[in-house]
């Protein structure tokens, strides 16, 4: 469970977040939908305490991120954009390293790493160094890193960028599986099909503000459009933001 309340953040002269509030429930996939430059990544970074908000606060499982950053981050898994792989480590070393950073003992981390490698079919590349990996292999490694310690909340920043159909499907299956197991999944995207196919709950963002919330169907109904894409355009108001 993630909740964001009245978040405001100015980066340079840009008001990146402007009184942003929303929440993402456990056992649901929540999509953060917005054009480029809407403030999605800023919002996610604030959730991890990497950026300090000018106003407002964020909570993870009821823990205030600003007050107890380590405890809050313990409940989070991040699939970042960009991936941040270590080119000289193998996926197994990489995943295990972050499992240990998330507080697992070496033994548990080893076992969890093996489990996630099997779950994501990483066996064939698990002993190769990450240098020279394809986009799909990188995605899988980064995803394994995000879920290896079984956090209650998983945050994905633009997870489907640059992926082929097979990788996208795999990702989708894993997200649905996490949802079925009661995790809170929050991901940002600007790809309508992904959001429409996966999300139980959509938060439409533009210029650092929430424009609309609801299931994809509800958003279509609100705007009287048939497709999410048309509804999205209508909601964020024509050219604004899209031009970016």
């Amino acid at each position: 469970m993630i909740s964001v309340t009245n978040l405001s953040k100015k980066i340079g002269d840009v008001q990146a977040l402007n009184q942003l509030s929303f929440s993402a429930q456990d056992g649901k996939i929540t999509g953060l939908l917005g054009p480029n430059g809407a403030g999605k990544t800023t919002c996610l970074r604030t959730l991890f305490g990497l950026l300090t908000p000018d106003e407002g606060h964020t909570e993870v499982d009821g823990i205030n991120v600003a007050e107890q950053p380590v405890a809050a981050k313990q409940q989070l898994g991040l699939f970042p954009d960009p991936f941040g792989l270590y080119e000289r480590l193998t996926p197994r070393e990489y995943i295990q390293y972050f499992a240990e950073l998330s507080g697992m003992s070496r033994k548990d981390a080893k076992k969890a790493t093996q489990d996630v490698i099997e779950q994501l079919h990483l066996n064939d590349i698990s002993e190769r160094r990450c240098k020279g990996f394809s986009q799909g292999q990188r995605m899988k490694t980064a995803l394994a890193q995000a879920i290896v310690h079984q956090p209650t909340n998983i945050i994905l920043d633009e997870p489907t960028r640059g992926l082929d159909v097979m990788s996208t499907r795999l990702l989708r299956d894993i997200l649905l599986d996490l949802k079925a197991r009661g995790h809170c999944v929050l991901f940002s995207s600007h790809v309508m099909q992904e959001v429409a196919a996966l999300c139980d709950h959509v938060i439409v963002m533009a210029n650092g503000q929430v424009v609309a919330t609801g299931s994809p169907e509800e958003l279509c109904q609100q705007t009287g459009e048939t497709s999410l894409e048309e509804a999205f355009i209508k909601l964020i108001g024509t050219d604004e933001g899209i031009a970016a």
């Binding site: 970074r45 990497l50 405890a71 941040g84 270590y86 000289r88 950073l101 003992s105 160094r129 890193q145």
Partner: protein, 388 residues
């Protein structure tokens, strides 16, 4: 604690696989002692054996006694014509100095008048200066000797010519004479902790940010203090490995230098190695924190490299100043130069100035801790983490 171990382990694995980091340390640790040895061998060769000086003497037959005298002092007359005949003479290095003895030399000498000799050489030629000085000195000595003999022949004590007697007492001990050489040798060892860890320090800070893994690390439940400690420990370990390596190689390599010809010896004993390592720990800590601090301040890998090159000049200057004895006393209380002085005293067989060593080591550690606290604060700033 587990997280810290995991971090250090990962940094070391990552660094060991980074050829650039490993090579930078290795090249320095292996190359420098060998280079030093080569340099010292050449230096010792030049200092200790005043080679025969071969010059051209024209009309040598006019002054056989002078020529014999010079010959005894290692200044040989080589006839340019005969040089071409003998095959072994060809290799002899004949200096471009000509001594011409005047035709009336013998006559004037017999009459106790100044007998003329002409010394021809290019005075602007730096390489000849030493040889010219040597020749002049020997001619003066011959001159004084002849003068004395003449006074004795006339029944006068030659000491009347000697109004003052200069008695030079050289108080240099063999070891202190080698001070500069020692200073350089110890300096290369101390500097190894700065060089060995440098690439890793840049890679793990500015490099980590450039690869976007810094934000990912900070997204995990670790405190910035843990992150800083992990990186400092990793870089310090690498720096100390470099130090151990250079000590081992120096021990082997310096044994081949003919120190005894200088009248002192540099013996890289086990005691010295242990002391150097113990003293090196705080210096390595300072090196790693300083390098991490500067690299995190820089926005990119390249920027970090150029800043660090400038920053590394500071310990270089401190250390050099200490070894040349040009420094004010204050230097023995400062980081790096204080430790260098203590090590030099140890290898010279003097007592280690414990007070100074303690103060400079404490100063080193305090600066390191201050830098670590600075790093911790820096990593809480979004500007530093995202390189804004």
């Amino acid at each position: 604690m587990n997280k810290l171990i995991a971090m250090v382990r990962k940094e070391l694995i990552d660094a060991a696989r980074d050829k650039r980091s490993v090579m930078a340390g290795l090249y320095y640790a292996i190359g420098t002692p060998l280079l030093m040895c080569g340099m010292f061998m050449v230096l010792i060769g030049q200092l200790t054996s005043p080679e025969d000086l071969n010059i051209t003497i024209q009309k040598a037959q006019n002054a056989p006694d002078l020529v014999r005298y010079l010959g005894n002092k290692g200044i040989n007359a080589v006839d340019p014509d005969s040089a071409e005949k003998g095959p072994d003479i060809k290799d002899i290095d004949i200096k471009d100095i000509t001594l011409i003895i005047s035709d009336d030399y013998a006559e004037n000498m017999a009459k106790a008048k100044p007998a003329e000799v002409i010394l021809q050489a290019d005075n602007s030629n730096e390489k000849l200066q030493k040889s010219i000085q040597r020749l002049k000195r020997e001619l003066q000595a011959y001159n004084a000797e002849m003068g004395s003999l003449r006074l004795i022949a006339r029944g006068v004590n030659p000491q009347v010519m000697q109004s003052i007697k200069v008695n030079v007492q050289d108080q240099a001990t063999p070891d202190s004479r080698g001070g500069m050489i020692l200073g350089i040798a110890i300096f290369t060892m101390i500097y190894s902790v700065f060089i060995s860890g440098m690439n890793l320090a840049i890679d793990t800070s500015a490099g980590e940010r450039e690869r976007n893994s810094l934000a990912l690390m900070l997204s995990h439940p670790i405190s910035t203090r843990q992150l800083v400690l992990g990186k400092v420990i990793a870089v310090t370990t690498f720096a100390l490995l470099g130090l151990i390596l250079i000590l081992l190689i120096s021990k082997v390599a310096y044994a081949f230098v003919p120190w005894q010809e200088l009248g002192f010896s540099i013996n890289i004993s086990t005691d010295f190695m242990a002391l150097m390592f113990a003293i090196g720990i705080p210096v390595a800590l300072l090196a790693s924190t300083l390098q991490l601090f500067v690299s995190f301040m820089a926005k990119t890998f390249k920027e970090a490299q150029s800043y660090l090159t400038m920053v590394l000049f500071v310990p270089l200057a401190l250390s050099m100043a200490a070894s040349y004895n040009i420094a004010p006393d204050a230097l023995q209380w400062l980081p790096v130069s204080g430790q260098q002085q203590a090590l030099m005293d140890f290898i010279k067989g003097k007592d280690i100035p414990m007070m100074q060593l303690a103060v400079s080591s404490a100063a080193t550690i305090i600066i390191s801790i201050a830098l670590m606290l600075g790093l911790e604060k820096m990593l809480k700033s979004e500007k530093v983490v995202f390189g804004l």
